[in-house]
């Protein structure tokens, strides 16, 4: 039993079997074999080792004949490792004593060695961990076969352990069977965290070298509240966690009962709580948790789940499906926001030097008008099926906004000519996530119907912090007074110009910031479905007057620490169980 502490980024507690994703997505399917199969399993292992040795000898001979003895040397080491009696005996003992599968035995023992390597102070030595991984992979390949199992067709519940989840991997996840995530890197707003929260499953990130400490088939407890990962827990811990889990489920049930109640303060101030979603199916869960609409539909997932660009019909079907599930409630569709941390495979081929400042999002769309138009046509065609709104991401200059609107006008004219129905007065909005847009909100307010503040990117651009870089992620803080000033100004500008303002970043769903945002006059909060009940509970437990007082006080602070400290105190007075 071992406990690792990371950053809990999505609440909940779950116990399950681990699958470890390495760079090649090799999965260890099972941990145990029946007793009567132990000998057969050892036989499989020996055959896999022999096959590994024969592959390697072939490769070595080829390399040696091409490049000479020196280069071939490293193959010799790998061969030596495969034939190393100490290791082979350990594999066999693991299978015989614990009835492990050959895959599990290889993976778990090689990972122990990998850790010994990683712990070496000599850099040259610790780098050799690559050799260990290489040998492990080689044997596993021979055991499992060349087929890479994919995560879209799982047959049992699993917890996914990975260095970091790529958007293309999470998009293809079998959502029914994935019950939790634990990753080496990442922070509260990393992609893994966002996806886990949207799926409502626990996740812990920033664990360091968890992929080398866990082997596929290990039993894992993920505690997303306390940021803990427990590897192969003992009976006592399992019991303790079962109890803790029951408590949390009870709390969750209480919160769910709030679903039918209005988000209204004690003194009668009403706001709107909406949900962020990634796929049409997410709507149902969001509504069940009390969402009054969808404040952000991230359409990139349509692109990430397939190898080729989606057709207009693919878009259209997804949008009609989504808006119909909304049942007359508002649905804000954000146009393609791909790039930076959400690459498609095609984009990976030619990486940008500075992707967060590069050709992403609306910029990419304006560079590829035919692609942009396909999505816009689908949105406009679907617009007659419900209360749909359209939103452009990452607008940084007025010209960009005007160009995007011009393309939309073109699309509308085309549809008109073709006699296809659409909603002519569809509300048009923009994300306020680039500092220039926040500072110039006055000018933008004259040209759109609504603003949605994307705090994740806004914080990152204002503070110059890459939230996915674990070395600086600690500097990423929405409570920074510079960020709060911009937030306040954008909300005020919206009020003055009759432009509705929502916040759709992670901040909107964090209970810590509810009082502040409410007090700043925010009327629409858009967050991940699972966060809605807790935010609603805070709103229903306070008065607008008090929230305004809190906001005024917060705006007088000049460090994020003061802000966080004060907000934590004030929030704890309302829901003591939150922190």
């Amino acid at each position: 039993m071992e406990i690792r502490k990371g950053i809990g980024v999505s609440p909940g507690v779950v116990v399950g079997t681990a699958i470890v994703l390495d760079a090649e997505d090799l999965l260890i399917p099972k941990r145990h074999v029946p007793l009567e199969n132990v000998d057969a399993e050892i036989d499989r292992l020996r055959k896999a080792l022999a096959a590994g040795i024969s592959d390697l000898s072939g490769q070595r001979d080829e390399v040696v004949s091409k490049y000479g003895q020196e280069i071939g040397g490293i193959f010799g080491v790998h061969l030596g490792l495969l034939a190393d009696k100490t290791i082979v005996n350990q594999f066999i003992a693991e299978i015989r004593d614990r009835h492990s599968t050959a895959e599990y035995a290889v993976s778990t023992i090689m990972r122990k060695y990998a850790n010994a390597f990683l712990a070496m102070s000599d850099k040259y030595m610790s780098d050799r961990v690559k050799d260990i991984y290489d040998v492990e992979r080689r044997v596993l390949h021979n055991l499992i076969g060349q087929t890479h199992q994919d995560l879209s067709h799982l047959t049992e519940d699993v917890i996914v352990i990975a260095h970091d989840m790529l958007p293309s991997q999470t998009a293809a996840l079998d959502r029914l069977h994935v019950k939790g995530f634990a990753t080496d890197v990442g922070g509260r707003t990393s992609h893994t965290a966002i996806v886990a929260r949207a799926m409502g499953i626990p996740a812990v990130v920033g664990l360091g070298a968890i992929t080398s400490e866990i082997s596929g088939g290990d039993i894992i407890i993920i505690d997303g509240h306390r940021g803990l990962v427990i590897i192969n827990p003992d009976a006592e811990q399992l019991a303790e966690h079962a109890e803790y889990r029951t408590k949390l489920i009870k709390l969750d049930k209480e919160l769910r009962e709030l679903a039918h109640l209005q988000p209204e303060t004690l003194d009668g101030h009403v706001v709107s709580l909406q949900a962020n979603i990634e796929a049409p199916a997410d709507v149902n869960d969001a509504l069940a948790r009390g969402a009054q609409g969808i404040g952000l539909y991230r359409t990139e997932f349509l692109y990430l789940t397939r190898e080729v660009e989606p057709t207009e019909e693919d878009h259209y079907k997804a949008y009609v499906d989504t808006v119909e599930r909304c049942g007359g409630r508002p649905l804000v569709i954000r146009t393609l926001d791909l790039g930076a941390d959400k690459y498609t495979q095609a984009q990976l081929a030619n990486p940008e030097r500075n992707p967060f400042l590069g050709d992403r999002s609306i910029r990419m769309c304006l560079h590829d008008i035919p692609m942009f138009k396909r999505q816009l046509r689908a949105i406009m065609r679907a617009s007659i099926h419900g209360d749909m709104r359209i939103m452009f991401p990452m607008i940084s200059t007025l010209m960009e906004l005007r160009q995007a609107k011009m393309v939309l006008n073109d699309v509308m004219e085309d549809l008109e000519d073709e006699g296809i129905e659409f909603r002519k007065d569809i509300p048009i909005g923009m994300m306020v996530e680039v500092p220039s847009a926040a500072i110039q909100a006055d000018a933008f307010a004259r040209e759109v119907n609504f603003f949605s503040i994307g705090t994740n990117d806004l914080v990152q651009y204002v503070l110059a912090v890459d939230r996915t870089n674990e070395k600086v992620a600690g500097l990423f803080c929405p409570a920074h007074p510079a960020v709060l000033k911009l937030l306040r100004d954008v909300i005020r500008t919206g009020q003055r110009n009759n432009v509705s303002v929502s916040v759709c970043g992670e901040m909107a769903g964090e209970p810590l910031y509810t009082l502040l945002l409410l007090g700043l006059g925010l009327t629409t909060f858009s967050m991940n479905g699972p966060d809605i009940p807790e935010v609603k509970k805070i709103i229903r437990s306070t008065t607008y007057e008090h929230a305004k007082h809190v906001a005024r006080k917060v705006m007088s602070f000049d460090s994020e620490r003061q802000v966080m400290h004060y907000l934590r105190e004030e929030t704890r007075k309302i829901i003591p169980e939150a922190f």
């Binding site: 040397g73 490293i74 010799g76 080491v77 030596g80 490792l81 190393d84 009696k85 100490t86 290791i87 060695y113 010994a116 390597f117 070496m120 000599d122 040259y124 030595m125 050799r128 050799d131």
Partner: protein
Amino acid sequence: MTVSREVVIRNKLGLHARPAMQFVDVANQFKSDVRVHKGGEEPVDADGKSVMQMIILAATEGTPLRIEAEGEDAEQAIGKLTELVDSKFGEAE
């Protein structure tokens, strides 16, 4: 028959993967069991015929080791292995 000898790792990069393999290859030419002992704060014993254990020793430049051979050809084994270590595993400076 048991023979042992003290040696010091002299090559710049220490007993990394390739020298470890060379050591094991030489050890395997003999019938004798070969053990390698590293002293210091965390003493470690390695099977001189296991490349993994030899690498895990993490014997960097300047590390003293005791090589021990037990068997009928122990003397010859120690001779060859000492020679290999002293030759800095044929590594260029």
